[in-house]
Symmetry: C2
Subunit: 148 residues, 2 copies
């Protein structure tokens, strides 16, 4: 279990944008939102090429700021994101991809039942701690408990 991803300690990484800047990648943040549920799924980054590919193929494409390469989200797992609409903000310095999931979830983490989480925003801050949104009830067995 990775504490950063599963734990209740708030330890925000405020350095990521500085790290992106150091790679000299020219990217904008992209908010990815489920076109049906309206849930915000993830924030990623796109450069000109990633946006062009997204518009051309209709599949959500980003620029991986860690690997410095084009990143078709879910290309290996099959959990790709079909584009419903691409929106632009007033100042044209960010994007909003409205998407429909073609496979499982979007997050690279898995819930207690081993299922890919649909959204990366599965925790909320409550009284200074991180609380899992779907794990408010610690008393009983989890709904997704494996019966096998």
């Amino acid at each position: 279990m990775k504490e950063l991803e599963e734990g209740s300690a708030l330890q925000l990484d405020f350095t990521k944008l500085q790290k992106i800047a150091r790679t000299e990648a020219l990217v904008v943040p992209v908010v990815v939102q489920d076109a049906d549920s309206k849930e915000v799924l993830v924030v990623a980054y796109a450069n000109q090429l990633a946006l062009e590919k997204t518009l051309e193929t209709g599949i959500a494409t980003f620029w991986s700021t860690s690997r410095n390469e084009l990143w078709i989200k879910g290309a290996t797992s099959g959990d790709m994101l079909k584009i419903d609409e691409v929106r632009v903000n007033c100042e044209q310095n960010s994007l909003l991809y409205l998407v429909r999931m073609m496979g499982g979830g979007v997050c690279h983490t898995k819930d207690a039942a081993g299922k890919t989480r649909p959204t990366c925003y599965y925790r909320a801050i409550k009284e200074g701690k991180l609380v899992h949104r779907d794990e408010d009830h610690h008393e009983g067995p989890t709904i997704f408990q494996d019966q096998g």
Copy 2:
């Protein structure tokens, strides 16, 4: 009329994150979403102080990366944003503020009727051009036309 904000030409500013990095501000991107309509309203940035103020006061607070100062959105206009929940992503390098509008809209731009736009994402990319989402029908008079 500012072409960047009202026009149909896609001219994304891919340099903003580099500019933020140059200020050496340690910030994370914050997606701001309407808790009721689920509309994504704006992407802004928060440092540790802005997050603390947000949690303390229950009012969405950011770090202005252009003015390098704490920014209580809507403090001057009265269009502040009441926090419903603050969520954190898996890797703890971005935030999601679920909010309720206390005044008018969130965007600094105004629609054709002079009303503050609720969201900054009022345009979508269609065939390489920006199209106003609420202005799909160019034939008739606009719904918001001033009768005065």
